[in-house]
C-alpha cells in the first residue's frame, strides 16, 4: 500500500509538469496575445501613446521580451527572473495579476472559500440524491418506482444547469415576488443566511450531477445483486435491510467513490456557470473576469489549480478503493 501511494505520488509529478507546459503553451498559442490587448486598451485610454515604445515597455513588464522557453522556465521558477531571483510555480509563486497588480495567490485566496463551500455542498447533495434513488431503482428493477427513478435521472441529465438557474431566477420572481439572494453574506455573520445563499446554486449543480451518478449506482447495484454472495446472504435468511445495506451496498461503494474523481471536473464547470448566474464571488467568477480582461497569469494559475484538484481527487478516489473494498490489493 505504501509503495503504491509513493508510486502514484511520483507519477503525479510528470503529469502536472506536462500540464503546466500545456497550459503555458496554450496561453502563448495565439499571435494576438496579452500585449496586443493591453496596448490596444492603453491606446484607447491614454490617447496618443507611441504604440511601438509602449509595446516594448509592456512586453518587458510582462516578461514577454525573452524567448518562449525562457519565459516558461521563469514562470516555473527553474530559471532566474530578470532581477536574478527565482520565483515561479515550483516556489509556490503564481505571479502577479496583469490587471490588478496584486499577487495571484491573494486574489485566489479570497475566492477559494466561496467555490469550496459551493462545491462541497453540491457534492453532498449529489450523493444524497443519487445513492438512495439509484439503489431503490436497482432493488425494484422494472417497477414504476424504477421507471420514475430512471426518468428522473435522464431528465436531470438533459436539463442544462444554466437553464434551470435561469428559470429559478425568473419564475419565482414573477409568481411570488421572490428571488434568490445575489449578495454575499459572510458565514461568520449569518451562518443561515450564508448557507441560504449557496443552497440554490448547490441544489442545481447537485441535482444536475446526480443524474449520471444515479445511473452508475443503479447499474453497479444491479450487478452486485446478481452475485453469488448475495444469494448466499438471502439463503441464510437475513433480512432484506441487512442484505441490501451490509452485503450489497458496501460493494457498490467503488463506483460511488471513483465517481468523485469524475464529478470534480463537472463541479468545476458547474461552479463557473453558477457563480456567474448567482453573482457569487468565487474562483469561477474570477476565471471568467480574468478571461474577459486577458489576465493571463490569473487564468493559467486557475487552470493549474483546477487540474491539481482533479489529479488529487482522482488519487484520493484510487486510494479509497482499498479502504472500501478489501478485495483490491495494491502492488
Amino acid at each position: 500500500m505504501r509503495v503504491y501511494i509513493i508510486k502514484r505520488l511520483l507519477l503525479i509529478i510528470p503529469t502536472l509538469f506536462i500540464t503546466t507546459f500545456v497550459v503555458f503553451f496554450l496561453m502563448r498559442l495565439v499571435p494576438g496575445d496579452a500585449v496586443d490587448a493591453l496596448v490596444a486598451e492603453m491606446g484607447q485610454f491614454g490617447g496618443e501613446t507611441l504604440l511601438g515604445e509602449s509595446r516594448a515597455l509592456v512586453e518587458q513588464e510582462l516578461g514577454l521580451d525573452v524567448p518562449f522557453f525562457t519565459q516558461y522556465g521563469r514562470w516555473m521558477g527553474f530559471l532566474p527572473d530578470a532581477d536574478g531571483s527565482f520565483s515561479g510555480i515550483s516556489q509556490g509563486d503564481l505571479g502577479i495579476s496583469l490587471r490588478t497588480k496584486k499577487p495571484v495567490i491573494e486574489e485566489i485566496a479570497v475566492r477559494l472559500p466561496v467555490t469550496l463551500e459551493l462545491s462541497i455542498m453540491s457534492l453532498i447533495i449529489t450523493y444524497l440524491v443519487a445513492i438512495p434513488v439509484g439503489i431503490y431503482s436497482a432493488v425494484r428493477q422494472d417497477t414504476w418506482g424504477d421507471y420514475l427513478g430512471r426518468s428522473f435521472a435522464i431528465g436531470w441529465l438533459a436539463v442544462p444547469n444554466f437553464w434551470l438557474a435561469t428559470l429559478v431566477m425568473v419564475f419565482p420572481a414573477l409568481w411570488w415576488n421572490w428571488s434568490p439572494p445575489i449578495f454575499v453574506i459572510p458565514f461568520a455573520e449569518d451562518p443561515i443566511g450564508n448557507l441560504g445563499m449557496f443552497i440554490i446554486p448547490a441544489l442545481i449543480i447537485g441535482f444536475s450531477a446526480s443524474g449520471g451518478m444515479m445511473r452508475s449506482t443503479r447499474t453497479w447495484m444491479l450487478e452486485v445483486l446478481r452475485q453469488d454472495y448475495i444469494r448466499t446472504a438471502w439463503a441464510k435468511g437475513l433480512r432484506e435491510r441487512t442484505v441490501l445495506i451490509r452485503h450489497a451496498f458496501r460493494n457498490t461503494l467503488i463506483p460511488i467513490v471513483t465517481g468523485i474523481g469524475y464529478q470534480l471536473p463537472m463541479l468545476i464547470g458547474g461552479a463557473v456557470i453558477m457563480e456567474n448566474i448567482f453573482c457569487l464571488p468565487g474562483m469561477g467568477q474570477l476565471f471568467l473576469t480574468a478571461i474577459n480582461r486577458r489576465d493571463y497569469t490569473v487564468v493559467s494559475s486557475l487552470l493549474l489549480i483546477g487540474s491539481i484538484f482533479v489529479v488529487f481527487g482522482n488519487l484520493m478516489a484510487d486510494l479509497a478503493y482499498g479502504f472500501v473494498d478489501p478485495r483490491i490489493r495494491y502492488r
Binding site: 496554450l26 436539463v159 435561469t166 446478481r226 476565471f287 471568467l288
Partner: protein, 315 residues
Amino acid sequence: MGNGADDSSSGRATERKRHSRLVDFFIRLVREKPLGTLGAVITLLFLFTGIFADLLAPYGMNEIHPAEALAPPSAKYWLGTDNLGRDMLSRVIFGARISMIVGLAATTLSVFISTTIGMLSGYIGGKIDLILQRFIDAVMCLPFLPILLVIVALVGPGMLTVIIAMGIVWGINGSRWMRGIILSYKENMYIEAAKAIGCPTRRILTRHLLPNVMPFVITGFTISVPGVIITEAALSFLGFGVPPPEPSWGGMLSGPGRTNMFLAPWMAIWPGLALSLVVYSISMFGDALRDLLDPRLRGGVGRYGVRVKKGKKGG
C-alpha cells in the same frame, strides 16, 4: 423496410448482408427499445428542422419587428417575440441548425481524434504509447469547461472555433477509453493471423481492427453528442460560443435578453425546452444503441474484472 433487403439480394452477397443487418437493427430497435425509437424519431425531427430551417421558419432569424417587441405567444408569433421583436419560433428553429451542426461536427472530429490516438497508442504501444498517454493524462486533468473557455477566448468566438475546440478536447478525453478497447481487441486471433501473412500495420489497423471496433466508435459517437450540444449551449450562454446575432439556444438564454425575461418569461422557456428535448432524445437513442450494439455493456457479470480497473487507473 423488408423490401429494401430483397431488392439488393440480386447484388453482391456482402451488400445484401450489410443491408439486412441494418434493417435487422431497426426492427430490433423498434421492438425492444420503444423509448430509444421515440428518441430517434425526435432527433430526426430536429435534424430535419435544422436542415430545412429556411423553409420552416415563418420569419428570418434576425428579422426584427420593433413595434411588437416582447409580444406574448399569439397566432402571429406562435412562441412570442424577444426584446428586439424577433420571432422566437423562427429563432428556435434556426437554433436547431446551429445545435445540430455543432453537435454532429464536433463529435465527428472528436471520434476521429480519439479513434486515431486510441489505435496508435493501443496498437503500436511501446514508447509512443507511454509518451502519448502522459500527455493525455495532462490534458485530461484540465477541467474541460474552463479549458474550452480559454481556447475560445484566445482564438475568438465563432462556430468553427467552438467545433474544433470541443472536437479536440473531447477527442483527447475519449481516446483513453478507445485505447482500452483497442488493447483488448488487438489480442484477437485474426490480428495475429493478419500479422503472420505479412499484412502491413496500416492495413491491419484500417481493415482488421477498425471494422471490429466500429460498434464502439458508433456508440461513442451517440453517447457524446448530447454532452457536446449542452456544452456548446453553455459556452454560448457564457458568451464564449456562437456569437450573439446567431440564434444559438444557449446564447438566447443569456445576454441583454436576460433582463427582459421578467417581462417576457417565454424568452426563458423555449430555447431551454428545445435544448432539453434534443438532449433527452439523443440520450435515449444513444442508450438504446449502446444496449443493442455493445455486448459488453448489456449488464450482467464480468465487468468486475481486473482489466477494467487497470484501465481506469492509467493516470
